[in-house]
Amino acid sequence: MWDSPYCHLTGIDMSIILDHVNYIYDKDTAFERHALKDVNLQLQDGEFIGLIGHTGSGKSTLVQLLNGLLKPSAGAVYFDGADISDDDFDLKNLRASVGLVFQYPEHQLFETDVFQDVCFGPKNLGLSKKDAELRAFQALKQVGLKEEYFYQSPFDLSGGEKRRVAIAGVLAMQPKVLVLDEPTAGLDPKGREDILNMIAQLHKELHNTIVLVSHSMEDVADYVERIIVMNKGEVLYDAAPQEVFTHVEELEAVHLAVPEVTYIMRDLARAGIKVRTDVTTVEEAVEEILACYGR
């Protein structure tokens, strides 16, 4: 994929490189678990990436490496060319640059009102009260929370609204890379779609790098440009969605399904209708079928 970990010197614009990364939990005890095995990845600026894997595939471990909450047991993670395991590495800067939204982020809310909670991140960056509040206001607007909720207790909001507030809390730090771990977990279909649309909108407006972690292909297929499939701590596929979804059998073997439309297109092709099978969204499928009938 690249020649050396020093390719930042060649002037290629890239933000995060994982070079032969391994991660082992509870090394040398009965609980030892090899969560990541020889992972090599390169996340470029402005990419919209889906990170997919079944439970226990190592995706949550991987995202924690991205902002230095965990350090690799072997191998190295480079952020803008600097090794995050180095003693003099600026972790504060990394955490300001790579925003991580955990699973069920609403469980981290603690302030007396929504606005104060969103201010927490920017204040920790050392911004003045005014700047922090400005950022908080922007972030809350970006996640589409109604202004009437701004000064309510975060605990009085509904599940979906709480999640928006929590995402705004990270967004207010204005990270270059935004990593969201299962942002739709536990939400109803409507809430899921709302959150995903909101994230896609963010990407369109801010042109930041977004890593969307999910166990559902259906969730990410419509939005991302690149999919990384993890299985048992290893990278199984790393390609565009259309390319990844051609491996239907292999994906099913690791308990992942491709989007429903991909199945339909495959069945149509089998039935003798000449359609492309690397279709991942409903819109594309409609076009393809219409084209096939010459309309």
Binding site: Y25, D26, D28, T29, A30, Q64, N67, L69, K92, R95, A96, G99, L100, F102, P105, H107, Q108, L109, F110, F120, G121, K123, N124, L125, F155, G169, V170, M173
Partner: protein, 271 residues
């Protein structure tokens, strides 16, 4: 981050200690703790140390794993020893500013330190080798006679089971919340004592809320399964003593006897 806290955690492996009846282990732990307070000489502590070392060896739990649990009480240990060292009146050895270190103080500090370390290792050895379920079964059985006095034995055992079960869950939760707040730029390791205390708010508020939520969920789940206290409840694996348990009780009695005798053996030296 908080994974090093081993207090109250079970270590899955196979050993003689793991197979012992939980009642033996509970009584054994109590006897061991009592013996630490009976001991008053280096000989006594030596015997206790040997006993503990043998038990650790028998448990097949890696020593580093047990030691890691000690980090949790490190501060307590230091403070206890310091207070004993500086505030015990007696024959002065030397003094620091207005506090004097005495012979008695050194003796007491050493004794307290050893007691505390042994006590924690001894009791964590019990939880490391006994599943929480087994532990509470044992406790319930041991306290059984108290039912006559209307002591809510089953309820106490159930509360303990839940408390023990929740230690790892809440630790994991703490770890998660801590990470989430660190990702938002929170610092838990810098600043003075007031800064540190203030930094705990973003951790403690979500933790309490989550504890209450979990408690509510658990109560609901228990009710949904018709839990109505201990009345008429039977066990899938009723506890039954075996030969090795009898042997263990015998060894315990022997150990206790040796510890009591050690009080009467005159030993020279500073202690």
């Amino acid at each position: 981050m908080l994974r090093e806290i081993t207090l109250g955690q079970y270590y899955q492996t196979d050993s003689v200690l793991h197979r012992l009846d939980p009642r033996v282990k509970i009584v054994g732990t109590l006897v061991f703790i009592a013996s630490l307070f009976i001991a008053n000489s280096p000989l006594g502590y030596g015997v206790a140390a040997v006993f503990l070392a043998v038990m650790i060896k028998l448990s097949h739990v890696p020593f580093q794993f047990i030691i890691r649990g000690m980090k949790a009480i490190f501060m307590l240990l230091i403070i206890t020893m310091l207070f004993n060292l500086l505030l015990t009146p007696g024959e002065e050895v030397f003094h620091l500013w207005r506090l004097s270190v005495t012979k008695e103080g050194i003796r007491l500090a050493l004794m307290m330190g050893i007691r505390l370390v042994f006590l924690v290792i001894g009791s964590s050895l019990m939880t490391l080798t006994t599943t929480p379920n087994n532990l509470t079964d044992g406790l319930e059985k041991l306290m059984g006679p108290l039912k006559v006095l209307h002591v809510p034995v089953h309820e106490i055992a159930m509360m303990m089971a839940i408390a023990l079960r929740f230690i790892p869950i809440l630790l994991e939760e703490t770890d998660k919340i801590m990470k989430a707040q660190i990702a938002r730029g929170a610092r838990f390791d810098t600043g003075g004592i007031i800064d540190k205390a203030r930094a705990m708010v973003p951790l403690l508020v979500p933790l309490f809320i989550s504890a209450f939520r979990r408690a509510g969920d658990l109560a609901m789940a228990m009710e949904a399964r018709c839990y109505h206290g201990g009345e008429g409840r039977t066990k899938m694996h009723p506890l039954a003593y075996e030969k090795r348990d009898a042997l263990a009780y015998l060894l315990l009695a022997l150990y206790l006897a040796v510890m009591i005798l050690s009080r009467f053996v005159p030993v020279g030296g500073m202690l």
